[in-house]
């Protein structure tokens, strides 16, 4: 196992590829920072679109680091799948947990003091009213 063939030249790990990957990573980071400043100065692109671009570019950067620097792109399929397939869990984790957080936010909004309730109220006679604006004493 330890007898690694050192004379074999990996085309993939040539210094040219390494520097190319570096320039790609640096370029993407510069674009990200440029967009952030553009947004600060002009409000364009909008926050939602901007965040989508940031996340997309982050994934691209991650791809280049893993595929080139960590050399995974040049390993055999067995290893690639063994490492990448478990990461599919993240798709579900992200969707499920962020949706849960969003749902909590909506509940907070609905139940915050002074907010009119969107669902049917209890009979007002019980407490003699007092569910009006700015009254959070019942909570």
């Amino acid at each position: 196992m330890a007898n690694v063939d050192t004379t074999q030249e990996h085309a993939s790990s040539s210094t040219k590829t390494i520097w190319k990957t570096f320039w790609i990573l640096l370029g993407i980071t510069v674009v990200e920072i440029g967009l952030a400043f553009l947004h600060l100065g002009t409000g364009f692109p909008g926050k939602l679109l901007l965040n989508a671009i940031f996340i997309g570019l982050t994934v691209v950067k991650a791809f280049f680091i893993v595929a080139e620097f960590m050399h995974l792109g040049h390993e055999i399929k067995n290893l690639i799948l063994s490492v990448l397939v478990p990461l599919v869990f993240f798709v579900w984790f992200i969707i499920a947990f962020l949706a849960d957080g969003d749902s909590w936010k909506n509940m907070r909004k609905d139940l915050s003091p002074g907010k009119a309730r969107t669902y049917e109220m209890a009979k007002p006679a019980e407490h003699g009213g007092g569910h009006g604006a700015g009254n959070g004493a019942h909570h």
Partner: protein, 225 residues
């Protein structure tokens, strides 16, 4: 190790690694996979709490300082420098691995030293940033930053997550620097020359690139979004 890859090769027939890598390298990959889930859990819980909050501090307001620049408003500039340092150190690490393939001992030493310097520089930057934030009243359980919508902070979720996640990442950088120093000493002692290969540099290199990979996500989640 059998490096000839043919389409018809029966990888699971036994006799050689079905992953075409050594045991140590495979285990490094699996360790990094588990570490990815640890960082993923931290970042997703951060995202969950942020999604559940009515408002959150604006990173461009919180992270706007640069050493020796006083009160100048420079959002993103310092963290961009930190990102650049870490990408750069990843490049020097991959160059060290590359030199190891060619058994170029001198080049391995040179690039490992640059990688260690890069890692130390990153840690120095982080120490400055933490100190600066601490002096502006931020720490675990202390959140002095107003929300983006102008309301005052009602909890310390933002600072708790920031210090926990960047701290956990910084701890990884620290152990990476220590590992790099250990293998540098081994290279200087000629350990890998005697062994006949520099695979240990590759394994530590995988770890180092992973630390860079995590930073890419931390950078996006805390400073850009």
């Amino acid at each position: 190790m059998d490096t000839t890859v043919t389409a018809k090769k029966k990888w699971w027939a036994g006799g050689y690694s079905p992953f075409n890598v050594s045991y140590g390298k495979l285990m490094m990959w699996y360790f990094l996979l588990s570490d990815a889930f640890t960082f993923g859990a931290l970042l997703i819980s951060y995202g969950t709490v942020r999604f559940s909050s009515l408002s959150w501090p604006d990173p461009n307001h919180v992270f706007h300082s640069f050493p020796f620049m006083g009160d100048a408003n420079l959002p993103l500039v310092f963290v961009s420098l930190m990102t650049f340092i870490l990408i750069m150190s990843s490049v020097t690490m991959v160059l060290a691995v590359h030199a190891g393939h060619h058994r170029d001992r001198k080049a391995v030493i040179k690039w490992l030293i640059w990688t260690i310097i890069g890692g130390a520089a990153f840690l120095g930057c982080q120490a400055w940033e933490w100190t600066h934030l601490y002096h502006s009243g931020a720490w675990w359980s202390l959140n002095p930053f107003a929300n983006a919508d102008g309301t005052a902070a009602t909890n310390s979720n933002f600072t708790d997550f920031f210090f926990t996640i960047t701290g956990f990442h910084g701890l990884h950088v620290t152990s990476g620097v220590i590992l790099n120093i250990v293998i540098l000493l081994n290279v200087l002692n000629g350990t890998y020359e005697k062994r006949g290969h520099y695979e240990m540099v590759e394994k530590v290199g995988l770890y180092w690139h992973f630390v860079d990979l995590v930073w890419v996500f931390v950078f996006t989640c805390f400073y850009l979004l």
